[in-house]
Assembly symmetry: C2
Homo-oligomer: 411 residues x 2
């Protein structure tokens, strides 16, 4: 039997406990939706004020040079690179995850022509599937998207597979793919791999270089806490950089953008995947947000993340065992990202009732309650308190109130 | 002969004079580069602080609903729409100009198949040409980009033209295309038109609906003052919205993004051209910046813009006539955007010397000194003072100093 006092003790011994002060978390809120939108890092407002008043307001156009705006996509990319095991000069931060996916799907199909399928799975985030279909349709080379259940991915890779495109951590279940194994299997069959690390970067160790991953994209507003709609990022392995071409040939991917040539010549390296003018204010916020990872190892983060998830599962078993919940996530922490999902037929209303109590997770249709555990600010006692609120919501049937039954536009 | 006192009088009678207080302009700086990066609107820092601390920090993920984040691309788009004569519901603000160009070039080629050329001109901004070539190449339907001198555009439109793609105001010379005439000529030949309004929106009246323009894109960090790399915007005429398809089929262009279907179904209307998650912090800055246009008519802006440009040309004639400058812009204000360019073999060094005096324009290779005149904050006396500094730089040969001869990375 676990008691709350055990968790107070765990918090007091937690080597990451001090990191919580690097975030602005509203009093009384238990925030478990950092896998959808990370909270405000405390460093962001002052850095934004500086970017607004000194850099934009005072230095004006000169800031492209004197304040290094022009290098921000690469500089922020390098900081993300450390968190995902990327080689130097292989990541830029720019555009949205969807736009970056498009660039890399098109690049991959051109790098590996003469094959007929992009292989993905039903656990992928829908935008990945939409973007890959859209790209294949526009290129019109007879390539089609094949979508199989997650457990069938490895067996479905064959000589017709041009690209294996997967999200590492399933956004609903938290199920973690084996990046090393799938990548090796794809390469053995002559396929390229493109990993979407939306729910991985900042949540668990990733070894892009060690796994010999070809291409990757990721989101910066979840575990990286870069702010709503923060610029996403993309990775191109150094061995592909000379041959890989972006379909989005914007001026800042040009070898000499300020020569204003009429013809496009791609920049050296991953910089050719920059397209338009980078969004400086959002990059400044993301850059500041990444300070929270300075001096932290992803192994430390992973260790606490698994403990938080295991604790939640144990507490649900111990305290909510007969309330109709089923576990919607792998029980083994090593097979799970940094979230735990529960399933319940009344999941939507239950989540609304929790949110009304300022316990903020989110809901994904048809019946998934998602709880993200971010080790930089989540406490072990938060998990106890979450379970307590969940228990109260169920015992009082608070969720059955009419106001919790109405579906909002964004759930 | 014009005297400075005449201009003091003009400033005192200027109906737009009060707008200058809506911008943060550093003491002593004469800012004439708002056609590259508009200055900081005074309303932005407080609005950003609210977006950071209250919306992101306190309301967290709930802000997508309670603070209307999800509607920002359409809401900001509607405000830009008023400035460019667009129908309701025909503009969204998202992504970069380059990415939006790509979406619309692909959409146009699909709307008007069976023709072999995209027609553009040598006065277009290079990214437009790069993006159009890239899109045509990827689609691989035998469409090629044809680039002619600006004056040959109308005569080059023929039965093979799928799309006429032009920038309304030339970024170097300020030369203004006749939107109504070219659009009519294109339609008569069965071609579609795509106008890039990067140097038009917020600078002069545009009548997208009245000219029956098909497609348009624009930049928000020049005359709209949205901040460095602010989200761009795109326009799709209502009559094309049902048939036009974006190649970038990201989840927020889906008819029901939160249903998480595995197949893409485009949203109704121009919203289908949204791709990934919108960049909220940058949209908030842009939204605040647009307040500076509330209650101002674009005819008022145009009237002052032409007067400022004409004044500069007259003063250069009067005071700098024998210093080696040639006019790099149309002399007739009606054929010119809101900038005036001068050409000089030592243009680069002369501009550096002006910038050292805090008179900020910019330089475009090989010999163009650009001066942008934004009627919301430029004063008639600024034009006198600009000319005075230019005269001093030339008379003292300040530009010949070694420090002004070195080329910086971004010019």
């Amino acid at each position: 039997m676990i008691n709350r006092s055990d968790l107070v003790a765990l918090d007091s011994r937690d080597p990451l406990a001090g990191r919580r002060d690097m975030f602005v978390l509203p009093e009384g809120v238990i925030y478990l939706d950092g896998n959808s939108l990370g909270p405000l890092p405390a460093s962001v407002p002052a850095r934004m004020e500086d970017a607004l008043r000194r850099q934009w307001g005072r230095d004006l156009i000169r800031s492209w040079n004197v304040n290094g705006w022009i290098d921000l996509p690469a500089r922020v990319g390098a900081r993300i690179g450390r968190l995902v095991g990327a080689e130097d000069g292989s990541i830029i931060s720019a555009d949205s995850t969807s736009v970056n996916l498009y660039k890399l799907v098109c690049a991959a199909l051109a790098l590996n022509p003469g094959r007929s399928t992009i292989l993905s799975d039903t656990g992928n985030f829908p935008t990945d599937l939409y973007v890959a279909s859209g790209a294949a349709e526009l290129m019109d080379k007879g390539v089609r998207l094949m979508v199989v259940p997650p457990e069938d991915v490895e067996a479905s890779i064959d000589a017709e597979t041009a690209l294996v495109m997967l999200t590492h951590v399933d956004y609903r279940t938290g199920r973690l793919h084996d990046m090393a194994s799938i990548t090796a299997r794809a390469h053995a069959a002559g396929a390229l791999v493109l990993w979407d690390l939306a729910h991985s970067a900042g949540a668990l160790p990733v070894d892009l270089a060690g796994c010999r991953v070809d291409l990757a994209v990721g989101c910066s507003y979840k575990y990286l806490n870069g702010g709503p709609g923060a610029p996403a990022w993309l990775y191109v392995a150094p061995r592909h950089q000379a041959a890989a071409r972006s379909p989005l040939t914007g001026w800042l991917g040009h070898a000499a953008p300020f020569a204003f040539d009429l013809d496009f010549r791609p920049a050296e390296g991953v910089g050719r995947f920059i397209c338009g003018t980078p969004n400086i204010l959002s990059l400044v916020a993301l850059d500041a947000a990444l300070d929270a990872f300075d001096g932290v190892s992803m192994e430390q983060v992973r260790d606490k993340s698994i403990k938080l998830g295991d604790l939640f599962i144990a507490l649900v078993d111990q305290r909510c065992g007969d309330l109709g919940f089923t576990l919607g996530a792998p029980r083994d922490g090593r097979s799970r990202g940094s979230q735990v999902s529960l399933r319940h037929p009344e999941g939507y209303a239950i989540m609304q009732a929790l949110i009304a109590r300022e316990v903020i997770g989110d809901f994904r249709a048809p019946d998934v309650l998602r709880f993200g555990f971010c080790p930089l600010y989540a406490r072990y006692t938060d998990i106890w308190d979450l379970t307590e609120h969940l228990l109260q919501v169920m015992l009082t049937r608070e969720w059955a109130q009419e106001r919790f039954q109405r579906r909002a536009k964004v759930t």
